[in-house]
């Protein structure tokens, strides 16, 4: 394959002749038009550009791209271009490309200064908070209408979602809580063995799982599993005009789509949390009896005496709040999703991130309140 080559000469004082030879193909790599432009810059008296392509070999859109950019630069400099000698196909391609007028573009990414970016973020935060508050308000109204029997609510839909976020999540919740219980037991054992107080592993695992860890782990799992699926589902419904179709029929999407999801998670989360607590304690028991040589009956009795009913209530309050957070984050992101595949992906990610962040913040707040109340 003959190598492409670019050379120049000046047949007259005001004319620059550009000579192209060899193969001009994308895969071979191409010389830049900047070489010609620097020639134009250095010879200010040049008013005309001609081409000599007599020795050109094979070419593709690489040649057209080179000529297209060169012609545009020449036009800017008022240099007349003599198209003679250009291959007919390349000329057609170039004229097609040059024919496209740059239309008015509605919105363009503007270059913002640092202060403008900060202001933009603050305004975005304010508007997101307002959207969240109004969405919570809509859910509260829908709930009130449901209590009064005025809301449009499909029981079948609730049952399906209950199954999806309850029974279908069972295996995952079992595995994760069992492992978390085992991990807690291992960590406790390392320290407590120093004092010969291994039996207190039962207290650590029991209290930690029932009071907070069971709820937090279930919340995080549900956020990644159910919250994400809510966001994707509603986001896709938004792109398919299904939500518009509800609105034109006068059906509130919050009543029809959001309420069953929020209710399902609020019902299922505490139940899954109790199950997760039990599985966590079982994990601790397994490690303590098989690896640390503790008596299972003694372990169980220690757990029973350590875990107070107040711990269980605190855990259930956590799970109730997490249920609301995960469902609201998933549904809000889905309902507010823009109409594109990329936006559905973003809504899903954002639902999981907001869900987990919400869970951590809520845990901190509830822990602080319990501390102050001495619970």
């Amino acid at each position: 394959m003959p190598l492409n080559k670019l050379s120049f000469d000046c047949p007259s004082s005001n004319t620059l002749r550009v000579k192209l030879s060899g193969d001009w193909k994308i895969f071979a790599g191409l010389p830049s038009e900047s070489e010609v432009i620097s020639q134009l810059n250095s010879h200010k008296d040049i008013t005309q550009l001609t081409f000599d392509l007599s020795e050109i070999g094979e070419w593709d859109s690489g040649l057209a791209s080179f000529l297209f950019h060169l012609i545009r630069e020449c036009r800017k400099r008022n240099v007349i271009i003599n198209h003679q000698g250009l291959p007919a196909g390349a000329e057609k391609l170039i004229s097609l490309a040059l024919k496209v007028h740059e239309k008015e573009i509605p919105r363009r990414e503007e270059q913002l200064s640092f202060l403008e970016k900060v202001a933009d973020k603050v305004l975005h935060l304010v508007s997101s908070t307002l959207i969240l508050v109004s969405f919570l308000g809509e859910i509260a109204i829908a709930f009130w209408r449901l209590v009064k029997g005025k809301a449009y609510f499909r029981r079948d839909e609730l049952m399906t979602i209950l199954r999806r976020c309850g029974a279908d999540a069972f295996a995952l919740v079992s595995l994760i809580s069992l492992l978390v219980g085992m991990i807690l037991a291992f960590i406790g054992a390392i320290q407590l063995r120093l004092f010969g107080a291994q039996i207190f592993i039962a207290n650590i695992v029991g209290i930690a799982m029932v009071r907070v860890m069971g709820a937090v782990m279930t919340g995080v799992l549900m956020s990644g599993r159910t919250g994400a699926s809510f966001a994707a589902e509603l986001g896709l419904m938004q792109t398919n005009d299904e939500i518009d179709a509800l609105q034109t029929l006068g059906i509130s999407p919050v009543e029809f789509l959001v309420m069953p999801r929020v209710l399902a998670l609020v019902i299922m989360m505490p139940l899954l949390t109790i199950y997760a607590d039990f599985m966590g304690i079982l994990g601790g028991l397994f490690v303590s009896t098989t690896m640390l040589g503790l008596n299972p009956v003694e372990y169980w009795q220690h757990t029973q005496s350590a875990v107070k009913l107040s711990n269980l209530w605190v855990g259930l309050i956590h799970s109730f709040v997490f249920g609301i957070i995960v469902a609201v984050a998933g549904c809000l992101r889905g309902i507010k999703c823009a109409r594109s595949a990329e936006a559905v992906g973003e809504a899903t990610t954002s639902a999981v991130v907001s869900g987990i962040t919400g869970i951590v913040i809520a845990t901190a707040i509830i822990t602080f309140i319990c501390q102050v109340l001495g619970v």
């Binding site: 449009y152 005009d241 609105q247 034109t248």
Partner: protein, 256 residues
């Protein structure tokens, strides 16, 4: 004014915007009872935004939409919802609710707004599905039927409550020529049998000439309505090159 003599829909000095960006200015047109009114225009000219304003999903930037002389956007939300019950809308994708079967999709508006018993609703669903040629598909989920069938099922849902006005968003898009033609025939039959007024938003020329009794052409460049009248008249009589180009797919340049 006598209710029968005034247009069913009247659009007055309407400005449309998309995310604060103006897309169309000064729209003025009327749709008469029994019309199949076509909103034509190239991609991105604001046809779908206009449809959203007409069906109550998006507030206009300026101007009025009157249904039988009543200013739609000046009403409170409850009255607007009541007015919207007169509409049937067929969305571009059919927009069937994916968690419900085809039959449940058609039944939902009837359960919500009619006083029919469960058995009567079932019979009504059968009738509406038969009207669109989908008898026997009530138990299928939207994902189990073809794109053309989803559109027809969406149409059965749109006509569930015998609406006065049926809106179609790009009815033949994504359909093969024959299915598109069948849907056009269905639009004509529905107008004749239900006595509904029909508004079709499309850029498909075959549909425009097959069903349109009246039309407006929106132009993205000038952000305005550049022609109004029957599509066939516009093709023969218009002297605006943009109108001729649009209606002949650019094959004739038109007269300046």
């Amino acid at each position: 004014m006598d209710k029968t003599s005034q247009p069913v829909i009247r659009v007055r000095d309407l400005d449309l915007s998309y995310d604060d960006y103006p897309v169309m200015r000064d729209l003025n047109f009327s749709v008469n009872k029994g019309d199949i009114f076509v909103v034509m225009g190239g991609s991105g000219c604001g046809k779908s935004t206009l449809l959203k304003v007409l069906i109550g999903l998006k507030e206009p930037a300026k101007g009025e939409v009157l249904y039988d002389g009543v200013n739609f956007w000046a009403q409170d939300e409850t009255s607007r919802q009541d007015m919207m019950r007169r509409f049937g809308v067929l969305y571009q994708s059919g927009a069937l609710w994916s968690s419900l079967t085809v039959g449940e999709n058609v039944a939902l508006p009837l359960q919500l707004y009619s006083k029919l018993s469960a058995g009567q609703v079932e019979e009504m669903v059968e009738l509406k599905l038969a009207l669109v040629g989908l008898s026997g598909y009530a138990e299928f989920y939207p994902a189990q039927i073809s794109g053309g069938m989803r559109k027809r099922a969406g149409l059965a849902r749109a006509i569930a409550l015998d609406p006065d006005i049926i809106f179609f968003d790009e009815p033949s898009s994504g359909l093969d020529p024959l299915s598109g033609r069948l849907l056009d025939d269905l639009i004509l039959q529905l107008r004749d049998t239900l006595g509904a007024t029909i508004v079709v938003v499309t850029h498909e020329l075959a549909s425009i000439f097959a069903v349109g009794t009246n039309a407006v052409l929106l132009d993205a460049e000038s952000k305005s309505m550049i022609a109004a009248g029957s599509p066939k008249d516009l093709l023969t009589n218009s002297r605006d090159p943009r109108v001729i180009q649009f209606l002949t797919r650019g094959q004739k340049q038109g007269v300046n």
